[in-house]
Symmetry: C2
Subunit: 890 residues, 2 copies
């Protein structure tokens, strides 16, 4: 901020280069200048330098956008002159004049930040047309219909995206005209029809904006450039950046480029292609095109395009040319490319290339195959995969054996399986999801406004649009299941229902989507575990060879343990014993214990729990044969085991045959104002040693029992919520006594460890003392975050949104570790802990253990392992490998 | 522990000196050996060396007690031999034989730790008597009655304190005998009566203990020594150490000393004296004595003794001798002494000297006068006062103008005024006090079992006992008001009432005590502020000259501010604005604000609050003219301002004319699971900027208004619960904007500061960043303790007791700062804060700001000030001075 101010003050701005030209084989920029020129601009420059046919143009830098905001939405000194210079260069390159009637130059204006951002203003085409220039275009193209169509498109786009005239105003005029003339498609309107449409468009433009449609092309351009800058901070764009954690960018660049027309007749067209299949990753050219259309017709999904194969037959030469460019670009960028192209009267132009969005499955396959093909090294391939995306691969698919009723079929736009209740708009999707309902968002087509709802939904179903439609692209990026372009879907937003065939599905009804097959099923379907492909296995092997962190799982049952082991878990990092307390009859014994007024009563009730807990542990030890299992002693406050509602208390009284009043009183006496900071964790074991003694006995007996049956067992007993060394000492002594007793009874021994959660700030601050007793530390970052930040996770929802919005937090600190604050406690805890016990084993078992950014932090601070939920184990394996690779890069 | 083990293993024990002899002008120990010999033993040695007539004896060291516990309650090797050696020495010194019938030596056995501990076993007298030895004693003393009385006392004391035979068993026998014989006092029983009592005592001893009363004096001695060791860890002693924060001692010493008898007739007696008046501090010899009595008769308060003046007349020579000793000892110890003496047939013996317990008033006067008299330097005098004790001086006395009904009069045993509900036992006192009831504990006499109840009571009233009775001594130590020896008080424990004159006072009735006058009043009386004496002012001046920490006060009203200023507060360190929100009509405007669904509604309600808040601040600024005032913005969660009960919600609905349902819903929507960690503090200002803006405006407008009237005003605006720098930035920006606006409106300016509470651990951990914005830090150690330790203050009561008992905490961390854990955060916060802002002003405003140990910590870590409640300001001033003096010592 300061450096800009200095520049301004000292008049240095005139020397700042705001605009970069590209055209005819030479560009001032290149692909490495993404931060300055945006992704689109950098790649246009790069392609120009590569000799790929790109229409010439220029890019206004992202710094300009930053400067625009910082000076109160004004252009910096020198920008106007540079734009005019480059416009002149462009006129020279194209041999045409901007705003000229005789030989008009039309341009497109596109936004383009360093990261792809569907939330921003995208494109204004045909800029430069005025009522006078359109006459020149008619003469130049000898195509009156085309010229009027271009003009009416321009007015509509400019009106919509630059001036905020609702699209509906224009659509209504167009629909009415088609009705009047008696045709179905826009393309059936003739030049005169369109001329009249232009007249009506100008009128509605003036009615809404209060000013005439601008007849000065340069004014059109400046307004559009300002609109692009302005779109950087529109709510949609901000929301998109939040959702996608895009931060630290200066702003958007603006690309001004000579127009080429895909709508100049049947030898023209436009399309989008991927150098490999973005759904499966298969190394096969993949794309769609539309004859006689402009780019937005494809992307918006308004007409359903043809697959690229059709082009090979229709325009074999152009197809060959395109294939050559495919090869060139992929080789150059060493990654799968997403390319936009236009054919103007038989001539191919490339309008954009970028690394293509892809499914996780495709990402894995492409990365592995690029290594096989010699384009990438293993480490590079590992860094190519967003660990979070792997989630897609790991989640269940529908059980193929169950009967299914197919409602309809569409395009398999984003793989995966989803089942949920139908909703018809983004707001409902967000609201229902917030209440915990699984929802499927059903839309005719989606637009950037729907991002929030798409994110909240389990899956997305659209009636229109292709594989590269907004819905499909965004869903793949999100890893959401999506079925797009289901043409026989009649959606009625007003009555909140859709029909397909003779079935009517109402809001709130369950449907299921198979995004890999494009199937839509009636009702709720059961899912099953994903099959992991060979490529995935290969990638994981590379990750395992690279990473230093071990990856364990949080799991409370043998089933959890088995799933996690399949995903590569190297032990259990957190087995929560309290979950076992709720199952079946156990809760009765637990409640008996709580209701007891004395130790004897508690011990009697605990004796009933002992064999059950022992059985649980035996199952888990067996499932984890050969691997360590960390078992945490009872953690939650006791009131969590009692019903809070009177009706349930009365029921409990009846079942247990105790007076209701006794239960009511117990609940009352256990009530806490801040249970998070109450009588829980090791505090229970200090107050009621018999509880931890029972648990210790169950663990050690189970370990002995399975060891006798040949299982290799490594129990690690973890004491929660320790703040003071003495707490740990007291519980550790209880455990050692019980263990020795069991060993004596069973006439055998086995190694076990006693450690602690570090989840109270004081524990981290005094970790040197705690490590005198603790043989291992496991950072409980959920609670450490709650206490370190003073944020109750249950309550912070009411303000956390505001906090992320206002930039107080970059991310929800319960999802991604607050590395500065909570991270400081972790660093301190590890350093102090190892100062007294150099071989201290350190891990993390909060939910952050499955978050890639947090895992990288765990690696950096020297932890031994992370522990996360079973489905996140592969994510953690990859993230741990990436942490090593990123460290090496530095 | 290890060193002892080594000693044992290597047989070095035999060389360890366990026993120290004293007698006839020469002692092996001295006063400096208090830790080894206990206070009593060290002083007996010292006095012996000083040539003061002390009966000879020997002291078994505290290390022996430690060793006793560590080896499973066994005597260390060598102890027995050393005891026997010293016993022989003692026999030689006394010219008598232990256990001899012909020339018996009797001894007393007394416990004596390094700190005075009424909770322990105190004394067994006349040890060495057996059925045979008693005969020798008769011959030797030619006093049969005395001998039998001595024997029956010994059996009773040995039975009670060594063997645990309830005193009641013995008392009943004695009472029955007196009844039988028809006399009132023990002293009226004749030799034969007592002989029969001895017979009956022996029988009951055998019935209860299952063994004969030991007839081997050496066995009596070993059993008694073991009982003294054992009493070190009896529950009373443990509780006493907890209450008095006595820690780090090895154990108790045991003093075995030749008996001298104050009960050998009318030329014998026993007494206790203080070298100065322990209530007022007046430099006047002060004490009490009983003719023909043993020491316990005075201390236990069973008979009411005569004042010392009487002795000057009765035994002028002895009195003169005692006065000489008084001067010698005080000069030697340079402090007021509490001396126990016995006169055996005209010969004076000193049995004990120690620094005397005293009231705060006396402590101040004595310290100041000792400086005047040239015995002490100012710094030494400052260190002589326990800052906590000053509390006594600062609390209110009864308003003399109100009508009072005197119920009775007793001894002014401990000064101060107390009003409360009558209870008759310690358990009730503790239970009622726990419920927040003010109670007066009324007892016939108190005993060490009553400590807990005395601590819980506002005041103590006893029917028996003098100024040195248990009740009086303990109450003075505690700084509790006590009226003792109210002889016309008939207490009926069974019906829980007392009668005095014709008034009956029942449990739960209010009475009031004036401990300075010894008055007992009927009903509840109003109190008024204490007058501070000139000595106090002098001491405070010395403290102010010494200390480096500034002392501010926590105060929310002009009245608080005035009181604190009178006590020497140098500013307000914490003014809680929310307290103002509850007053009168304001709560309605506050509730209007909370019920508003939008900013406009909130602003409207806040506009009503603005003039009231401004008025508050004007009052406080005026009261603090010339001194800084730190005002904290709204801190508690909003739900605290709404009624939680349905009935109150309905009432509120009526008053405010809004539907009940709206209030119910609002309360529900504001409900939090962990409000401590919820939507409060600066989080409110982030969510509702209009609240902090109103408060900032009220502060700045008030400051401008009073400045116009000539008041010197230094507002410091404090933002609570900051965890992230950005939170502070957002609120600071709001405040600066408002302030500039007000300055513009008022056409004036004034300096103000913006700072923050450091109460969230994250704030301390990232204090370097926060100090970039914050101009001052105030450590909010209440919340910092809650979050740093994960302890909800409201809930931790259920386990904090167990925690202190088990030694997990030394003290309640909400009363005295957890210096290791929370202290680490404070150190870190200060160091980091000053790393980016070297002149950062740092203070503390939690309740720890009035705790002497915590204040010493604040000094050590380099804070600029502490802030505490008004009545604690002088305590803080003294503690801050002591911190400097203690630092210098090191």
């Amino acid at each position: 901020m300061k450096s800009m101010a200095v520049k301004k003050g000292s008049g240095k701005n005139k020397r700042t280069k705001y605009v970069y030209f590209f055209g005819h084989g030479k560009a001032e920029g290149n692909a490495a200048m993404k931060n300055l020129l945006g992704g689109k601009g950098a790649n246009l420059a790069e392609m120009t330098n590569l000799g790929i046919p790109v229409p010439p143009g220029f890019t206004i830098t992202t710094e300009t956008c930053d400067s625009f905001y910082k000076s109160g939405k004004k252009w910096p000194d020198g920008l106007e002159a540079q734009i005019k210079d480059n416009l002149a260069k462009l006129e020279q390159a194209m041999g045409a004049q901007f705003g000229s009637r005789d030989n008009p130059l039309l341009v497109s204006v596109r936004s383009g930040a360093a990261a792809s951002m569907p939330g921003m203003m995208d494109t204004v085409l045909n800029l430069g047309l005025t009522s006078e220039v359109v006459q020149g275009l008619i003469i130049k193209t000898e195509n009156e219909r085309f010229a009027w169509d271009a003009y009416r498109r321009f007015i509509q786009m400019f009106g919509d995206v630059v001036m905020g005239v609702e699209r509906d105003h224009f659509e209504q005029i167009l629909d009415k005209k088609k009705e009047q003339v008696g045709v179905k498609y826009d393309s059936e309107l003739c030049a005169n029809d369109l001329k009249d449409v232009v007249r009506q468009y100008k009128k509605v433009y003036q009615d809404v904006t209060g000013e005439e449609f601008p007849q000065d092309p340069y004014q059109q351009l400046t307004k559009t450039i300002n609109a692009v800058f302005g779109s950087w901070n529109n709510p949609r764009a901000i929301r998109y950046r939040q959702l996608n954690e895009i931060r630290g960018l200066l702003g958007t660049a603006v690309n001004v480029q000579a127009m080429v027309f895909g709508n100049m007749g049947d030898s023209s067209g436009t399309g989008v292609c991927f150098t490999r299949n973005p759904s499966t990753g298969e190394n096969k050219f993949y794309g769609e095109f539309l004859v006689n259309a402009q780019g937005e017709d494809v992307v918006a999904g308004i007409r359903t395009p043809q697959p690229l194969d059709g082009m090979a037959k229709q325009w074999p030469d152009i197809y060959k040319q395109l294939c050559a460019i495919r090869t060139k670009l992929e080789k150059h960028y060493r990654d799968m490319q997403d390319i936009e192209f236009t054919i103007q009267e038989g001539k191919l132009f490339i309008l954009q290339t970028r690394n293509g969005k892809r499914t996780a499955q495709a990402a894995v396959r492409i990365a592995v195959e690029l290594v096989k093909e010699g384009f990438l090294k293993q480490g590079e391939a590992l860094l190519r995969i967003d660990p979070k995306q792997l989630d897609q691969l790991l989640h269940p698919t529908f059980d193929p054996k169950q009967p299914k009723t197919v409602l309809s079929k569409g395009l398999p736009a984003s793989p995966g399986a989803a089942t949920g209740k139908v909703v018809f708009n983004a707001e409902d999707a967000e609201a229902w999801a917030a209440k915990g309902e699984p929802v499927i968002l059903v839309r005719i087509e989606t637009s950037p406004e729907d991002i929030g709802g798409m994110n909240a939904a389990k899956g997305i179903l659209t009636a229109r649009g292709g594989m590269t439609s907004h819905a499909a692209v965004v869903a793949r990026g999100m890893g959401k299941c999506c079925v797009a372009g289901v043409s026989n879907l009649q959606i009625d937003y007003a009555s909140k229902e859709f029909r397909t065939g003779d079935v009517t599905v109402k809001q709130g009804d369950f449907i299921s989507l198979d995004g890999s097959l494009g199937q839509v099923y009636q009702g709720k379907l059961n899912t099953m575990d994903a099959e992991l492909s060979g490529d995935f296995g290969k990638l994981m092997k590379w990750a395992d060879q690279t990473r230093k962190l071990k990856v364990r799982t949080n799991g409370d049952t043998p089933v959890d343990a088995q799933v996690a082991r399949k995903f590569g878990a190297e032990g259990i990092g957190l087995c929560r014993t309290e979950h076992m307390f709720f199952e079946g009859d156990r809760i009765i014994a637990v409640r008996e214990m709580i209701l007891s007024d004395n130790k004897e009563g508690r011990e009697k009730a605990l004796a009933k729990l002992l064999p059950m807990q022992r059985g649980d542990f035996e199952g888990i030890f067996k499932a984890m044969d050969g691997l360590p299992v960390t078992i945490r002693l009872l953690d939650p406050p006791l009131h969590e085991f009692l019903p809070q509602e009177e009706a349930n208390q009365r029921e409990m009284a009846q079942v247990m045959n105790v007076p209701f009043e006794k239960i009511r009183q117990k609940v009352e006496s256990l009530h806490e104002f801040n249970p998070m900071l109450g009588h829980r964790g090791c505090r229970l074991g200090v107050s009621y040693p018999e509880i931890s003694q029972m648990q210790a006995r169950a663990i050690i007996e189970a370990a002995c029992n399975v060891k006798k049956r040949g299982v290799k067992v490594f129990p690690e007993i973890m004491i929660p919520l320790v703040g003071m060394k003495k707490e740990l000492d007291i519980l550790a002594e209880q455990i050692v006594q019980v263990a020795n007793q069991v060993f004596e009874e069973k006439k055998m021994k086995l190694p076990y460890m006693i450690g602690t959660m570090i989840e109270v700030p004081r524990a981290a601050l005094t970790a040197d003392r705690i490590a005198e007793t603790a043989q291992f530390f496991s950072f409980g970052t959920n609670d450490l975050t709650q206490m370190g930040l003073g944020f109750s996770r249950d309550d912070s929802g009411s303000f956390l949104g505001t906090y992320v919005e206002q930039g107080i937090f970059e991310k929800d600190p319960f999802q991604s570790l607050d590395q500065e604050g909570v991270g400081a406690l972790i660093r301190l805890g590890i350093q102090k802990g190892r100062s007294t016990r150099p071989d201290l084993k350190v891990g993390i078992c909060g939910e952050h253990g499955g978050d890639p950014a947090s895992i990288e932090f765990c690696h950096r601070v020297g932890m031994n392992y992370v522990s996360c939920s079973p489905y996140r184990v592969p994510i953690a394996r990859l993230a741990a490998a990436q942490a090593v690779l990123k460290e090496k890069k530095k």
